[in-house]
Subunit: 180 residues, 2 copies
């Protein structure tokens, strides 16, 4: 049964990588040129700081997951190593996984908020809306954000699995005692 | 030792509630009136959708933590009840805590992103910056966001404790087996 949770984790990590790469590609390849008032203007993801940030975050998260996928074959089971060193490894994975899921979630959310403002404008601040002019551009961003949120959800389940793998090493009655 | 982690959790929850209430108050009481071009204009948190959202989220999160603090005295230890029903309770707490920490984090981040745009403006979209006009208003928002992020950090440690409380009930070798 130990193998089964390993396989589930590997499967989720693989689909996460696919989703993250898809998000990054959809953002990175998004640009639209349009003539507005006889002037040719171009909208690209570089105009929105939050999208540039999301591109970096998703690329790094995909690389991290790939690394974890490669490493997991080395630490597949703690039967070979001592329990103490396995616990250190599990702590490391727990903290890294948590950090990455929060980073991906944060990047997506910032991009969503920014895009939402572009979509609706803000009358109080006299900010104009732009999506009625760059429709295809905005639709593609919407698709990439959807992929990004699916990736966040997958990463959340990975973080839960790594928490499970870590904390089940501890005693249910004594505080912070490893059970042997 | 079982009591000690309960006390730590209660202490963290209390300080989280203080931080969340502080955030909500700083946002809710923030408004500034200024004369611009002979017209009296008022900036309040209601102008930024993300701040209104953050106000609701922090209030709800504070209420949730207060409820958990009250309930925790009933489920202080699983020695009285059966392990199975204690595990169900631990799952419930784990899922609720995770949901609340992500909600608070998301609310803060959306507000930060929105405020950042107000601070810097966006030249590509011809969006004006407003913080040079409403300085005190913006400083207060900055303070509330800082409190909000401290609260998120505290809530993250609570979520880790509830994960610890849940997953240490499970066997380290058999998948999803409670240990008795």
């Amino acid at each position: 049964m130990e193998l089964s949770i390993q396989k589930i984790e590997a499967l989720i990590r693989l689909s996460t990588i696919v989703m993250l790469v898809l998000t990054a590609c959809l953002i990175g390849l998004d640009s639209q040129t349009k003539v507005i008032f006889y002037v040719q203007k171009k909208a690209s993801f570089k105009d929105l700081r939050a999208l540039v940030g999301l591109l970096y975050i998703t690329s790094l998260a995909a690389a991290y997951n790939l690394l974890q996928l490669c490493c997991s074959s080395f630490s597949a089971s703690y039967k070979g190593t001592s329990l103490q060193s396995y616990a250190y490894l599990a702590w490391l994975r727990y903290i890294l996984d948590q950090a990455v899921v929060y980073a991906v979630f944060a990047g997506n959310l910032a991009a969503l908020e920014h895009s939402f403002l572009v979509l609706t404008g803000e009358e109080n601040f006299q900010w104009l809306k732009w999506c009625n002019k760059y429709t295809r551009f905005c639709t593609q961003i919407g698709g990439s954000l959807l992929c990004g949120f699916v990736a966040s959800l997958l990463m959340f389940s990975i973080a839960s699995i790594s928490a499970f793998n870590l904390f089940r090493l501890y005693s249910p009655t004594k505080f912070m005692h490893l059970k042997l």
